[in-house]
Subunit: 323 residues, 2 copies
Amino acid sequence: MDKPYVIGIDVGGTNTVFGVVDARGCILESGKIKTGNYETAEAYVAVLAPELNKLIEKAGGKEKFNGIGIGAPNGNYYQGTIEDAPNVLWAKGKIIPFAKMIGYMTGIPAVLTNDANAAAIGEMTYGIAKGMKNFIMITLGTGVGSGIVVNGQLVYGHDGFAGELGHVIVRKENGRLCGCGRKGCLEAYASAVGVARTARQFIEERKAKTILTELVPDVEKITSKDVYDAAKKGDRVAIDIFQYTGRLLGEAFADFVAFSSPEAIVLFGGLARSGEFILNPIKEAMDEYSLRIFKGKTKVVLSELPESDAAVLGASALAWEIK
Amino acid sequence: MDKPYVIGIDVGGTNTVFGVVDARGCILESGKIKTGNYETAEAYVAVLAPELNKLIEKAGGKEKFNGIGIGAPNGNYYQGTIEDAPNVLWAKGKIIPFAKMIGYMTGIPAVLTNDANAAAIGEMTYGIAKGMKNFIMITLGTGVGSGIVVNGQLVYGHDGFAGELGHVIVRKENGRLCGCGRKGCLEAYASAVGVARTARQFIEERKAKTILTELVPDVEKITSKDVYDAAKKGDRVAIDIFQYTGRLLGEAFADFVAFSSPEAIVLFGGLARSGEFILNPIKEAMDEYSLRIFKGKTKVVLSELPESDAAVLGASALAWEIK
C-alpha cells in the first residue's frame, strides 16, 4: 500500500489522545496532551501539531499517510468544524474550522466527526459491530453520546449533527436540568454525572444505611465508580441507582428501536463497565417498553475495544475513507 | 423503455386502492376494493388479483410492467410479508407472504413495504421531498405512521420494520392506552382517533360552551374533521385541541431531529389538512424542545400530493427499484 498509515485524534473534554494506526487497526505510536488549557484553538493546535508531526516523521513522513481522522465534541462531518462545544474552553460559543487547521499544520488531509460517531466507526471497523449494517453506539461517559449506523453508513443528517441521543427528553415532567440548558434529557440521568446526582438524591431521600457514605463521606464527591464499587459489595442503594439508571436507558432504547430497528445497541464508556448492574435493568425495561414487533430482537452489548484505544481507532478509521 | 409501467397498491385499513403508473408519475388506470371483508388473505387476493389483471391486460400485458409495489400496514420490506397487522382482519396475528402471492397471481415481481414508507418514497420521487436526502414522513391518519429517509435511502432497520414513530412513548406517566397495548404512544394522541379522544376529554373537563357539541351532539361521534370545522369557526375548545395535539407532536419531533437531523418533516394525511391550526403549535413546541444546535433548522411542511394518489404513487415508486 502506498499510504499504509492513518492518524486518529480524539479530542476529549480533558485529554486529547492521538496515534498512528495501520490498516489492521494496530496503534503503532501514540501521544497525549491536555485539551482544555488553552484560550484559543490556535494556541491548542500550536501545541498539538508539533506532537503529530513528530509521529509523522517517525513513521516515514507525510507521504505515508492516507489521512487524519478526528473525533471531537459537536464535530460537524460536512464542515470539518467543531461548533460551540460547551465543555471545551477554546470551542465554547465558537465555530472552529478544526479539520482545515490540522490539515494545514501537517500537510495531510483531515476529516472530523463527533466523538460518538467516531466510536461507532471504530466499533464497525474493528469491534463488536463488525459486519453489522444497522446498530446504535451509545457512549456513557461524562456525557451521553451516540453514533447511529443505518444501511452500513453513519447517520450525519442534513447538517452533519445527527445522533444526539443523549438529548432526547426522557422525563417531560419535573425533568432534571441538563448541561444543554433544557430539562429531562437522557444525559442528565445516564451520564457519569447523572449517576452521581441520582446517588445523592437516593441517599438524601432514603436516609438508609449504605456503604456509599462509608466509602465517600462527602456525598458531593461520589462518582459513578464509587456506586459500582458499592454495588459489587451488595449495597442495596447502589444497586437501586443502577436499576433506576438502567431502566431509564432501557425506556429510551425502546424508542430508539422504533426509529431505526438496529441489530444491536453497543454500550461504551465508563458506565458500560458496570456490566450486569446496568445491563439487566436496561434489557428488562427495553423489553417492557418495546412495541411487540420489536420485542427481543435488538441485542444490547458492551464494546470490547479497550477504551483508551477505541477513540483513536474510531477516529482513525474515518481517515481511510479519504480518497 | 421496455417496461414503461409499474403498479402501485395501497392496502389501507378500509380500502385497497391500486393503479397503473408511468415513469413520470401519471396514474393511467386505477381501481379500488374493500380491504377488510375477508377472513383469509387467500380470499382477499382472489378478489384483488383479477382486478389487477384487468388493468394489466388493458395496458398491454404483464411484459409492459417493471414490477408491482405494495404499501401495507406492518409490511416487511425484506420478507415481502404483512406481519400481524392489527387493523386488517385477514392479517391479524398472522404472517402473510403477500408480495409472493401477488407476484404469483399476476406474473409480475412484487415488492412490499409499510404504508408510511411507501408514502415517503412517493414524496421523495414525486412530491415535496424531491431532492432531499434526509427527511421524515409522518402520516397522520387513523393511526400515526412514519417513513424515515437517511442519505437518500429508506431506513428499514435490520428486520425491515424500522420507522414506527407513532409508537414512541410521549407520555411516560398516566399515558393513554394505545391500540398496540402499551401506554402513552404518540399515536394515542396524534391520530384521528387520538384527536377525537382529546375532544371528548376537553369537553368533559371544561364544561365550556363549544360549537363542537352543537355540530355533533353525541360526543362519541366527534371526528377530527368536526374539530377542524369548529376551529375554523373560531371555537376555543377546538383550537385548544389542535394546540394540545400539535404541541405533543412538536415535542416528539424535537427528539426525532436529535436522531436523524432531517432537512424536513413532511406531514401527510387527514390531520395534516388542518393546516395552521396544527402546524403552528407543532413549530412552537419543536423550537422550544430542540437542542440548540438544531433549533430552526428542520422545516415542517405539508405534503402536496393529492391524498388519493399519494399512497398509490408511493407504492408504485418502489417498483422501479426492481431489477
